[in-house]
Symmetry: C2
Subunit: 233 residues, 2 copies
DNA sequence: CAGATTTTTATGTATGCACATAAAATCATT
DNA sequence: AATGATTTTATGTGCATACATAAAAATCTG
């Protein structure tokens, strides 16, 4: 075997990928250790490590100290979705973005909401309901609860020209959150707002955001029928 | 300022994260360069680099050569979904997994399918339709087209005891693919199979897998109403 | 032989150094 | 002032080395 000289970690990664795809290293198989690969590729172990680590991050390799590195038996496809600001999403499609505030009030939320956000059962929260538009057509309906006790200055914001989405991103720090995707049938109300048939299948994003142990905001976004969120594998 | 001694890249990352979350480094702001941070943290620049690179990968920092590193103005939340084998998904919930093959035939697909898979319009493909069960209840309905010209040995597999999902993972190499999530209303047929109301909102995963420039398989999976896919941010 | 202990080994990471590279900033030239 | 060449600078990466750490494997011990 001549030495093709793998001079950078990307080329090493490509070669490893090639071997995985070609089944030269089939799923589940133990691959040579870093030192050996480094010798074979004619580069430093650091470089091999970088390449393998990236592949492990991507879910294609399983690595364990001492046990070695093996090709993932079931490459848990990691679909990385970019959940951007809706405005950006719409504009990225080359469409005109529009925003319309439907409701804004400070009120005591349903118990399910205060429970999920871990707020006192009788504590009022700020509620926002707004419609996002693409080329003047309904695009997504956002219903949001904001914890005014955590987010400074929300009560002074009318949200008539900026969505909770964007405002919070700019003003509310957060440490972590979780997100869920699902599908639901449009209620009569929702159908009227989104200009679709009642019962239409809506794509749903539910998101709960925390700053330490305090809930910042809980939002549910309903997308019009036909909406797709896509990504490469 | 005393020196807290940041001895590893994780602790550096934590500190940087803390400064971002606390708005000490607000969104859009340029942060000190690697060398300065290394000096401040009392570690090597390499270590700072590792920490910042990881954060950039996560979408929290924007980095450009010479221009420096700044806090992402709009931290595109990257939701990383683990699309595992359905069997694993079910079993991970502690439920009993079941599988039932509904249909298997070799036939010429609809033009939309052959177009998407870039196969000759009159070329027959292998079609599979199967139901995944959790605790003996319908869980997901899989409809799949497989390119027999690309996948060796598919024609010899009955798929009566193993899903296309798992079989392909073990036997068919692939280089890339794309995936889309959406919502749809259950047809009469689908409702009957999934034991739900016709028109019920189903969560949909569409996936198209390639090996180089040849399509390997195209699959649509419909999940029963109520299905959620979730992840942390 | 079971169970505890030690050894071995592959990955994980910190460091100093060197150089590559992209892009902003500056300077030179017309 | 517009254009183009040059310098500067922050990030990107490679490498040799050293040591840390987890976990498998081997060894010891009762």
């Amino acid at each position: 075997m001549n030495k093709p000289a793998f001079r950078n970690w990307q080329s090493v990664q490509e070669e490893v990928l090639r071997r995985i795809h070609s089944r030269q290293w089939p799923p589940g198989e133990l691959i040579p250790n870093e030192a050996d690969l480094a010798a074979e590729f004619g580069c430093a172990r650091t470089t091999v490590n970088r390449a393998l680590r990236a592949l492990a991050d991507a879910g294609l390799l399983d690595r364990r100290r001492k046990a070695g590195t093996r090709v993932a038996a079931q490459p848990v496809a990691k679909a990385t979705l970019d959940i951007s600001v809706i405005r950006n999403e719409v504009e990225a499609r080359g469409q005109k973005y529009g925003y319309h505030l439907i409701d804004r009030r400070e009120t005591v939320p349903p118990v399910a909401t205060s429970a999920a956000m871990n707020t006192p059962i009788d504590a009022p929260l700020l509620y926002l309901k707004a419609l996002h538009l693409a080329n003047d057509r309904p695009y997504a309906l956002e219903s949001r609860w904001i914890n005014g006790a955590v987010v400074a200055g929300v009560r002074d914001e009318s949200f008539e020209t900026i969505s909770g989405n964007e405002w919070l991103l700019r003003h509310a720090p957060y440490t972590h959150g979780d997100i869920a995707f699902s599908a639901t049938n449009a209620t009569e109300d929702e159908a009227a707002i989104l200009d679709c048939a009642p019962g239409g299948a809506l794509f749903v994003i539910d998101r709960l955001t925390w700053d330490g142990d305090k809930a910042v905001t809980k939002v549910r976004i309903l997308f019009v029928p036909g909406y797709q969120i896509r990504t490469a594998l």
